[in-house]
């Protein structure tokens, strides 16, 4: 196993929500978007993060790279605790950690040409680089992601969604980062284009040993690209396992329900028998259920689940589950 580059320990993110009709002295309500999540990320590995809308996937990813303030826990990047870094060192670190966004067109400045957009990280981190060198780099990276370098002076609105996403990837790649955080990079794209973008990411990963944190709500996409997958529910990690074992041998009732909910394209394939599909909605993260956050929708919930919060326990290599009833 290769070296761990990112360690996240007990990371929590809390937002203040002011209650309706609040007086200035009423305490704001706390919304726990991410609650004590821990994981490691190795060099060249892809970690998938899945979960329903609003379960804290994007918040977690942003807190990890300090785009949002964390309220507790620690993140260690190559041995450096990043929450203690000065603004200046943090800027230097941003060169090694890049990000790709959900909406391909919205993530490109409409007033800039794609050449300027892709060159921006270089301009920020290597201001001394000459214009011609920078131009050459931009053309090379655009060529790598499959955009004709002669398009360098075009504007984002002149490209399709898939092309825009590839331009976004080019921008993330140009500083030769070690980690790219992908925040639902394919959910706004057509299925055929999704495959293009994902295959591009996987090629790049094997070429330059990139690590990825890949957020999605499409389980089949995550299965295809990830080495390990983390399942989030209401800001809590419920299961973290290697991609293969998660899909074949899910332990947590929530994970099972999630996998069962994936539509099977071919009706002749039998759908795996599942206890019950989930009913109801995600409870409010302002006022989460006591004990296990999933107990309100869980078929196996007992009195123990309401009383005690399950801790993540390791079962076998690289597989941990937070549930009181794993054996059942």
């Amino acid at each position: 196993m290769s070296a761990t580059i990112l360690q996240v320990r007990d990371l929590s993110v809390t937002f203040d929500v002011s209650p309706r009709g609040a007086m200035p002295w009423t305490k704001p309500l706390k919304l726990k978007a991410v609650d004590k999540v821990s994981f490691n990320l190795n060099k060249g590995e892809t970690l998938g993060i899945v979960g329903e809308s609003g379960c804290g996937k994007s918040t977690l990813a942003r807190a990890v790279i300090r785009m949002l303030p964390a309220s507790g826990g620690s993140v260690t990047w190559m041995g450096q605790p990043i929450f203690d870094l000065s603004q200046r060192n943090m800027t230097a670190l941003r060169r090694d950690v890049q990000m790709i966004f959900q909406d391909p067109l919205a993530s490109l400045d409409p007033r800039m040409t794609i050449g300027q957009i892709v060159a921006e990280p270089l301009l920020t981190h290597m201001p001394k680089m000459s214009r011609s060198e920078r131009d050459a780099e931009v053309r090379a990276v655009l060529d790598r992601v499959g955009i004709l370098p002669s398009m360098i002076n075009r504007y984002p609105h002149e490209f399709s969604g898939g092309q825009c996403q590839r331009i976004g990837i080019a921008r993330a790649l140009i500083t030769k980062p070690d980690l790219i955080v992908c925040d639902e990079p394919v959910s706004a794209l057509d299925v055929s284009i999704q495959a293009q973008v994902i295959n591009l990411l996987m090629e790049l990963q094997s070429e330059i040993g990139l690590s990825l944190i890949f957020i999605a709500h499409d389980l089949s996409v995550v299965k295809h690209i990830s080495d390990r997958v983390m399942v989030l529910y209401l800001g809590n990690m419920v299961e973290l396992a290697e991609s293969k074992s998660l899909y074949s041998n899910a332990k947590h009732p929530y994970t099972k329900a999630l996998i069962a909910s994936v539509p099977v394209p071919d009706p002749t394939f039998a759908k795996p028998e599942i206890d019950a599909l989930l009913a109801g909605d995600l409870p409010s993260p302002i006022n989460p259920p006591s004990g296990c956050v999933f107990r309100t929708r869980c078929s196996k919930a007992t009195e123990l689940c309401a009383r005690e919060k399950p801790v993540a326990q390791s079962i076998g290599s690289d597989h941990s589950v937070a549930c009181h009833h794993i054996e059942d």
Binding site: F101, R111, S150, Y155, E158
Partner: protein, 311 residues
Amino acid sequence: MRTVFEKDKMNALADNLAAMDTVKGRSLWTDARKRYAANRAAMVSTYVLLAVVLFSIFGGYFAQFSNEEIDWAILGSVPEKGQPSIASGHYFGADELGRDLYARVIQGSQVSLMVGFIGAFVAVSFGTIYGAVSGYIGGRVDSVMMRLVDILNAIPFFFVLILLLVVFGRNILMIFIGVGLVSWLGIARVVRGQTLSLKNKEFIEAARATGVPTFTIIWRHIIPNLMGVVIVYGSLLVPDMILAESVISFLGLGVQEPQTSWGVLISEGTGTMQYGTIWQIGFPLFFFTTVLFCFFYIGDGLRDALDPKDR
């Protein structure tokens, strides 16, 4: 039957594409320019305005008299002999003191247009930067900066301006300062609102994620994306400035003799209207209203061209 795609041709095309020189993009500005050019009222207004500006710059070369010179031949009998005529050289007639109105109108146009353009430019530049910084940084900084705007907005502007002119003497600089003090408030507010909606866009987050410094983000991403609003607002601020200056001059507090402006000329013209010297108010008023109309149509056209969604 031949194949639909001729292979050689397609290969040649592919080679062509690959070897093609850098394609020039069609920016949002190019699109806006096209839409603007298609707007007839705005284009006519632009040309008329351009003509007035050129007239105020070069019209002086055709004047038969200077703006200070008093034509003694007609002094005392202006209503009879000072009428506009090509023959006498007073193309726009003469004013009450026998000065050439043509030269005076040119002089007034220069002053009024200058007040309008420079005033609006300063107000828009300052207001844009102020609003963008306030909106982008947000939080407490935003609160303090916006409360300052509220406070300045609450001060009765004309009262302060008149006070300034009385205390520090009447001069054009004082008008600039007085009008400038309040005119940036509106744009600062508008720009702040736009910035608030812009700063949550993903491309701003992308810039932050790559580590672009705050003020560079404001300069490189926020302000260019605000330009649409700013230009429209600016084009409407120019006539506001001209109007404000004219009102003050009309009240007798503005530009001083021997300087003049449209407001002063109109004021003088109204004073002598009853003696039948209708040209003394007619010519300055014509330029004044024409230019204001032009600016309003241009502002309208710019708005349609720059954000086609809001039409």
